[in-house]
Amino acid sequence: MKDTDVSQLGPQAAYEAYLAAGWFMIQRAASTGEYVFWPKVTSPTGATDLEWVEAKGTGTVYAITVNRARSGAYNVALVELDEGVRMMSTLPGVETAEIGARVTARIEDTEEGPRVVFDLAGEDAA
């Protein structure tokens, strides 16, 4: 397991501690194999033996919108990770993307702290 000590932290704080240390971690239930995101104390089927595993970091754009504020535009996407769970994120390198586009995760540092963002991958990046 990654050398960040999260043993005394709840799932949200543990996720954020991992992120601060440079790791994109998600939960998996040892007994059922279910992946869980966002982090919780139980899986949807009730499994509580949740372990932290490093996300593969690959996924697909499930849905995407572009917020067009007067101060500028940025996209907000739902990305389906290859582990089967979905998260809100953004693709900072592009205005928008096709639904179904393949993406790769990276951790981006912002003024408000680190966050997981995605870039187009493979042929979709062309």
Partner: protein
Amino acid sequence: MSMDSMRGKSAIVGMATAGVGEAPGFSAMELLGQAAVKAVNEAGLKMQDIDGVFAATSSHAFPTMSVVEYLGLKPRFFDGTNVGGSSFEMHLLQATLALEAGLCDAALICYGSNQRTAGGRLVSMSEPQWHETPYKPRHPITAYGLATSRHMAEFGTTREDLADVALAARGWANLNPEAFARGPLSKDEVLSARMISDPLTKSDCCLVTDGAAACVLVRADRAKDLPGKPVYFMGAGGANYHRSIVAMPDLTTTAAAESGPRAMEMAGVSQKDIDVVMLYDAFTINTILFLEDLGFCPKGEGGRFVRDGRIAPGGELAVNTNGGGLSCVHPGMYGLFLIAEAVAQIRGEAGERQQDNCNIALCHGNGGTLSSQCTAILGSEAAL
């Protein structure tokens, strides 16, 4: 107690709105109070007769407490369930259960908002979701934009289809003197409106208005002795799977696919029996999603279904006959206004927009980000 044992057991005997559109100089509770006073008067009751209170607003942490004090009530039963704009369809079910159980004898369901004149923006007590915050979603339109993007990608729904929803709503609003947004509207105007959250433009968004509404329910046997024409509770049901849009299992199918059948089973009706369909249109995509999920057209066909004025005045299906949240009124939580229009149609008091022989109306409330879905069915005495 079986599901259908609630059918026809309660009736709305007073219904009123106040401050629809703009009501400068009045607080949310003052508007709510005006609607409550009118509804109780119309029911032929005294305020002191109200012994059950059901309320939700976007500006009161403890809405039933605030309502009770403001109106000088001493209720035996109260319930402040807040499932966003769908709260009031759920309150219809809970009020009926409480009345039938003898926990109260006269139930007041009420809501009020002055969000337009107070600031001109959506007022919400909705707390940020920590796993969304780093991406700066704009609540609630980001979620609806995401759902729309998915519907377009899966089913080929177009911006023109969304525009047809907005145009139908305006067509109905033009028949409703109470509607806030009236006047001609062309498809070009709708399609060229400012993009806010792709693919949703300003024309795809509901209004930001003031407004209050209230209704009074009693047991059906008592309703016959009161002055107004009773509008009977026939059935209701809720369904809810998520809070944040990230946790919605399928962005193109809402929990209305469960709440609708639940309500229709209790009411003993099917889609073909329904004369007026009131759908919570916070955004144009809502109307399309709910027409599909409630079984008025197959999944994925909603965009094609609304074309060519099918849900506009004179169309095949009377949808959102008041002009909807898009063109009539949307003070933040719209659900009680769906009920107000259903009551007006069933009583035959809907003026120019009145549907012939309107006996059964469906009200579908939506709360959060396509989260809570609550369907209620109301009917005339002839429908029972």
